[in-house]
C-alpha cells in the first residue's frame, strides 16, 4: 500500500491539537491491530498513517461524546478492507458463524493447566490462524480491552454478532492450544 496523500480539509489549529491529543495514545493499539490484519509492518505503518490523515480530515464531523477509539478503529478497518490486501483477504474468508453453535466447553482443570503452559509464541500462532472476522474481534476484546458495544461500533456489526464471534474465536484458540500441546507439535512449550 503506497503512502496516501490526503487533503486535510478545513480543520482548525485547535482541532489539530485536540485530535493529536486523542489520537497519539491510540497509535500503539492501531499499529498492533494493523500488523495483525496486514501481516506486514511496512503496510501496517502506511495504513496507520492513512488512517490518521483520513480521521483528521473527518474530525470536524466527529460527534463529541461518541466513542473516539471505536471511530478510529473503524476508519482503520474500513481503510484496510478497501486496500488490495484487504480485498483479497475479504474474498478468501469464509464466514459460517450462523452455523456455529457454541461447543460444549469442558471445565476440567487439566485444560486450565494446559492454557497456562501455552507460551506466547503458541498463543500468537493460535491467533494468527483465526479467520479475519474472529481475529479482529478477539484482538479488540482482549488486547484493546474494548466492551462489546465499543467493538460493535468499531466493526459496524450488531452486539450479538460480536458475542458469537468472540465465543467462536476463543473456542478456536483453545482448541488450537490443546491440540498443539497434546500432540507436542509446537516447540514453544514452557519447560
Amino acid at each position: 500500500m503506497a503512502a496516501a496523500v490526503i487533503p486535510r480539509g478545513n480543520v482548525s489549529g485547535l482541532e489539530h491539537k485536540e485530535f493529536e491529543k486523542l489520537a497519539v495514545p491510540l497509535m500503539d493499539g492501531l499499529y498492533n491491530f494493523a500488523c495483525w490484519m496486514c501481516g506486514d509492518p511496512d503496510e501496517a505503518r502506511d495504513l496507520v498513517q492513512e488512517t490518521l490523515l483520513k480521521s483528521l480530515r473527518a474530525f470536524g464531523s466527529f460527534r463529541q461524546g461518541t466513542n473516539f477509539r471505536a471511530w478510529m478503529f473503524r476508519i482503520l478497518r474500513n481503510t484496510f478492507l478497501t486496500s488490495r490486501t484487504g480485498l483479497e483477504r475479504r474474498n478468501t474468508q469464509q464466514e459460517d458463524e450462523e452455523n456455529f453453535a457454541e461447543a460444549a466447553v469442558s471445565t476440567e482443570t487439566p485444560e486450565i493447566a494446559l492454557i497456562r503452559r501455552a507460551d506466547t509464541e503458541l498463543v500468537q500462532a493460535a491467533i494468527a490462524q483465526l479467520a479475519p472476522p474472529w481475529q479482529e474481534v478477539v484482538l479488540l476484546a482482549e488486547v484493546e480491552e474494548m466492551k462489546y458495544k465499543e467493538i460493535a461500533e468499531a466493526l459496524d456489526v450488531p452486539i450479538g454478532t460480536v458475542m458469537s464471534r468472540l465465543a467462536r474465536a476463543r473456542q478456536q484458540i483453545k482448541v488450537y492450544i490443546m491440540t498443539a500441546l497434546s500432540e507436542k507439535k509446537v516447540v514453544g512449550i514452557k519447560r
Binding site: R8, V11, S12, G13, H16, K17, F19, E20, A23, V24, P25, M27, D28, G29, L30, Y31, N32, C35, W36, P41, A44, R45, V48, Q49, L52, L53, L56, A104, V105, T107, E108, T109, E111, I112, I115, R116, A118, T120, E121, V123, Q124, A126, I127, V138, L139, A141, E142, V143, E145, K147, Y148, M163, L166, A167, R170, I173, K174, I177
Partner: protein
C-alpha cells in the same frame, strides 16, 4: 454442562453483566464448581491472548511521522525553502546521534506507551495489592528473573499492583504506584548486558512525561510518571537501593 447459569461465564469474565448481576454471579461462583472452573479457564485464556496479541509496538518513526503530518499547516513561508539544506544537515546529525542509542530509545518509547495504555485501561494491573509481599511472588514463574521491591512504610508512596509486560519483545514487570495525585510506573527488565554495573537514574527531559532509567543488580529499570522529577527520584533511589547486589 448442567448449570443453567453456565452461559453467563463469558459475560462475567468480560465485565458485561449489570453490576447487580455481576455481584450475584460472583456469589454463585462460590457454590458452583462448574462455573468456577469455566470462569478460571476463560480468565487464563484472556490473559494469554492479551499478552500474545500485544505483539507489535508502533516504531518511533511512525510517531515522528504522525507528529509531522498532524501539525497544523502554517502560511507559506519562503524562508523555509531556504532553510532546506540546513534541515537536511540537521536531520543527518540527529540520525547519526540517534543510531547508537536506538535500543534505549525504543525501550523508552515502549515504556511510555505502556504507561499510557495502563492509565487508559479499566483494568490497569493484573495483581491488585498494596503489599510487596504479595505482588513480588505473583511474578514468580511469569518472568525469567526476580527483583526486589522497596519497603514503603513511612513514605508518601502506595503500591497499587503490577502486571507482566512485553516491551521491545522483552518480558518485564510493571509496578504501579500512587504518589500523591500522580501515578508512577516502574518497569523492570533483565539487563541484556550481564556485566552491567550500577548506574544512577538518568532523566529524560525531552518528553512530556518524567522518564528515568537506571541499572542495578543486573536489572534494567525505567520510571514513567506525570509527576515531577523530585518525587520520582526518591522512588527510583529506593528501588536502586533495594536491588543493589
Amino acid at each position: 454442562m448442567n448449570c443453567e447459569q453456565r452461559g453467563n461465564t463469558a459475560l462475567y469474565v468480560d465485565g458485561e453483566l449489570e453490576p447487580a448481576a455481576q455481584q450475584a454471579f460472583a456469589g454463585h461462583l462460590e457454590n458452583c464448581a462448574e462455573c468456577s472452573a469455566a470462569v478460571l479457564e476463560q480468565q487464563e485464556l484472556k490473559k494469554a491472548v492479551r499478552v500474545a496479541g500485544k505483539k507489535f509496538s508502533a516504531p518511533p518513526e511512525l510517531y515522528a511521522a504522525a507528529h509531522r503530518n498532524l501539525a497544523p499547516r502554517r502560511s507559506r513561508a519562503w524562508w523555509k525553502l531556504a532553510m532546506a539544506p540546513l534541515a537536511v544537515l540537521l536531520l543527518a546529525l540527529i540520525t547519526y546521534l540517534a543510531i547508537p542509542r536506538r535500543s534505549v530509545d525504543a525501550m523508552i518509547s515502549g515504556v511510555v506507551n505502556q504507561h499510557l495504555t495502563t492509565m487508559a485501561s479499566t483494568t490497569p494491573v493484573d495483581i491488585v495489592n498494596s503489599s510487596h509481599h504479595v505482588v513480588k511472588p505473583w511474578f514468580i514463574g511469569r518472568l525469567p528473573f526476580t527483583f526486589n521491591m522497596p519497603e514503603l512504610a513511612g513514605t508518601d508512596y502506595q503500591l497499587i499492583g503490577g502486571k507482566q509486560v512485553f516491551v521491545d519483545q522483552r518480558p518485564g514487570a510493571q509496578l504501579l504506584y500512587q504518589a500523591g495525585r500522580h501515578k508512577v510506573s516502574i518497569f523492570i527488565f533483565q539487563s541484556a548486558d550481564t556485566g552491567l554495573g550500577t548506574r544512577s537514574p538518568r532523566w529524560n527531559h525531552d518528553l512530556t512525561f518524567t522518564v528515568g532509567s537506571w541499572t542495578a543488580g543486573g536489572r534494567e529499570c525505567y520510571l514513567v510518571t506525570d509527576g515531577n522529577q523530585n518525587e520520582a527520584d526518591k522512588l527510583a533511589t529506593m528501588f536502586q537501593e533495594a536491588n543493589r547486589s
